[in-house]
């Protein structure tokens, strides 16, 4: 670098200021033009990184909903343009994308299916300027302004399933194991309450570093000597596969039940038939869930994507409901004005892959399923109808 270039000159400073001013006014100039055209939805999905095996399903399900809505006239007469964006990397990368989508693309809404660390970062970045719909499973209590949650809450996912395992299966003592981040820790806080309600006890609570190359021999040995009736698992992805394979490898599956809170079709394929006995999953959607809505959804899904269709599961199918939620919200609010959307969300009904749902307190009451694993298939053994979210946000 030459000596002249060591500091900013008056001219470069003025130039930068002018550019900054121009940038500041640009979105305002573009918005009216965009408003007449497409309805842009930024879809946050795992397009890269360790969770990216969900990406193809997330995209496919969102595309299916988009196509269906566009065929029937779009949102407020505007065709939806889906902008799939990566949320599989670190949260800071997703927030950069959010800013770009807001400033350059002028997106009308966000739909997100990703982990809770990313959600917290996105909520802090979007600041309610654009309606943001969060879709998978989560730890509850997200009441940020202009943020709408259709994800399963602990009240829906954990409370009925834990009560069933304790009353029906006689599981009295529980060992908690999870990845070390916000979702498992907050879920376990709730789970401890539900376990106490049912007169059970927590033997131990343990976390492994999230994203580290974890191995589970030592932990499984510890569980074996603690002799709990049940293990409540909040591990995700590869850790979940690894733990369950080690658990069964040590022969613990015969005597100790396992209830996993993020166990869908992909993860179960990894766990495999030799390690999946006495393993349970509780979620609002399974690919083989009963009901007309799912039958119709699956027929449309496989008609569109054929034999090469990505594996269906909750993470992915949630995006289908997310896009429909966006449509219902914008239609009822007559646009995307934050205050109008907030008001419109109360009592809002819209279809999801599992059926029609109603939004209350920016959360959704829904039917929950408890499934046991038979090989690499889920066998739904219990259906809990109309489970309240327990997380209703005040206005």
């Amino acid at each position: 670098m030459s000596i002249q270039n060591q500091g900013p000159t008056r001219r470069t400073l003025l130039g930068a200021a002018a550019a900054g001013a121009a940038l500041g006014t640009l979105p305002g100039l573009i918005r009216p033009a965009a408003a007449a055209g497409e309805f842009k939805i930024g879809l946050f999905a795992a397009l890269s990184g360790p969770a990216s095996l969900f990406g193809p399903t997330q995209k496919a399900c969102a595309e299916l909903a988009t196509e269906e809505i566009n065929k029937s006239g779009g949102i407020l007469g505007r065709q939806i343009k889906l902008i799939p964006t990566d949320a599989g990397g670190p949260p800071a990368e997703s927030t950069k994308s959010a800013i770009r989508l807001m400033l350059e693309e002028n997106v009308d809404m966000f739909v997100g299916s990703h982990d809770s660390a990313t959600r917290e970062a996105l909520v802090a970045t979007i600041k309610g300027k654009v309606p943001y719909i969060y879709t998978p499973v989560y730890e509850g209590s997200e009441c940020a302004f202009n943020t709408y949650v259709i994800a399963d809450t602990p009240e829906q996912q954990i409370r009925p399933s834990v009560a069933f395992m304790m009353k029906d299966r006689g599981a009295k003592s529980v060992y908690l194991i999870g990845d070390d981040y916000v979702w498992p820790r907050k879920c376990n806080e709730q789970a401890k309450k539900y376990i106490a309600e049912n007169g059970g006890s927590v033997v131990a609570e343990e976390y492994v570093p999230f994203g580290a190359p974890n191995k589970f021999e030592e932990i499984v040995t510890r569980i074996k000597s603690a002799k709990p009736d049940m293990v409540l698992i909040t591990l995700v992805g590869a850790d979940n596969v690894n733990f369950n394979r080690t658990f069964a490898g040590f022969g613990l599956d015969k005597d100790i039940a396992r209830l996993s809170l993020l166990l869908e079709e992909n993860t179960l394929l990894g766990i495999g038939p030799d390690s999946s006995s006495n393993l349970f999953s509780s979620m609002s959607y399974f690919a083989n869930a009963p009901g007309e809505a799912n039958k119709k959804f699956k027929a449309a899904y496989f008609a569109k994507f054929g034999d090469k269709a990505p594996q269906l599961g909750l993470i992915g199918a949630d995006c289908y409901g997310g896009i429909y939620c966006a449509q219902a919200l914008a239609t009822k609010a007559g646009g995307t004005d934050a205050k109008k959307c907030m008001a419109a969300s109360e009592g809002l009904t819209f279809p999801t892959a599992a059926g029609q749902v109603t939004m209350r307190g920016r959360h959704v009451d829904k039917t929950m399923f408890l499934a046991t694993c038979k090989g690499t298939e889920f066998d739904i053994i219990k259906t809990f109808d109309d489970v309240k979210s327990g997380d209703e946000c005040k206005a």
Partner: protein
Amino acid sequence: MDPLIVTQAINVLYGVSTLAVLALGLAVIFGLLGVLNIAHGEFIMIGAYCAYVAQAGGWPYLAALPLTLVVCGILGAAVEWIMIRPLYRRPFDTLVATWGLSLLLRKIAEAMFGLGFRSVSIPLPGTVKLLGTEYPIYRLLLIAISLAVVTALVIWYGRSRTGSRIRAMVSNPELAQAQGISVRRLAAGTFVVGTCLAGLGGVMVAPLVPVQPFMGLDYVLRTFFVLIVGGLGSVSGLLSGAVAIGGVDSVISAASNAANGYFAVLGLAILFLWLRPRGIVARG
């Protein structure tokens, strides 16, 4: 003795011996050739997929071994010829090149098998009673095989003609060349041995872990730590590194929790890089 302590002790032995065998390929390539092979984990991944393919094809599990040797051998030879040969003695460049290679291999695996988890069923399921505690048979077998593989390689490297040629090449390539040793061919062969060993490690661990394109990332860090702590270019270095990293990880994971175990491994690696960068056993 308390079965908990016995089981945890076997876990430590298991952790150390599998880590040693997983690091073996890297010890050959990085330790002897000085190539910082970031794609080491991807060769382990390829070995694991070979096990999956063999099992899905209905072949006996042992059929995965020749399959892996062929796949990793051909791939290793091609990579050495195209990418590594111009880069010997430029460690940083090999690091960047093999990093690119690791991305490519992961994408190829993704294109062939998709991103989904594959599970390889355990060829010898069940547990066996040992010292008053039940322990999985396959893991015990892995301990035995790991020790056998490492011992065999030690003997071969120390006693065979090829072993002494490699040692000659490592300590003074010009002099070795002058003695009539074809350094270029010997280096290529050594590289291929390294990739094949990585593949074999993959076949061994495949039934225990999720098989997916990203799985190699789990191994590359730990195996590099083994060599950093143990020191390059000697068998005793490899073993002491595996004992230090695998042992510290397993013992602390058993005594307190996995987070502290991981923390201790990172701390140990940093301490060694800082205070003793040549490792426990510096090459003499």
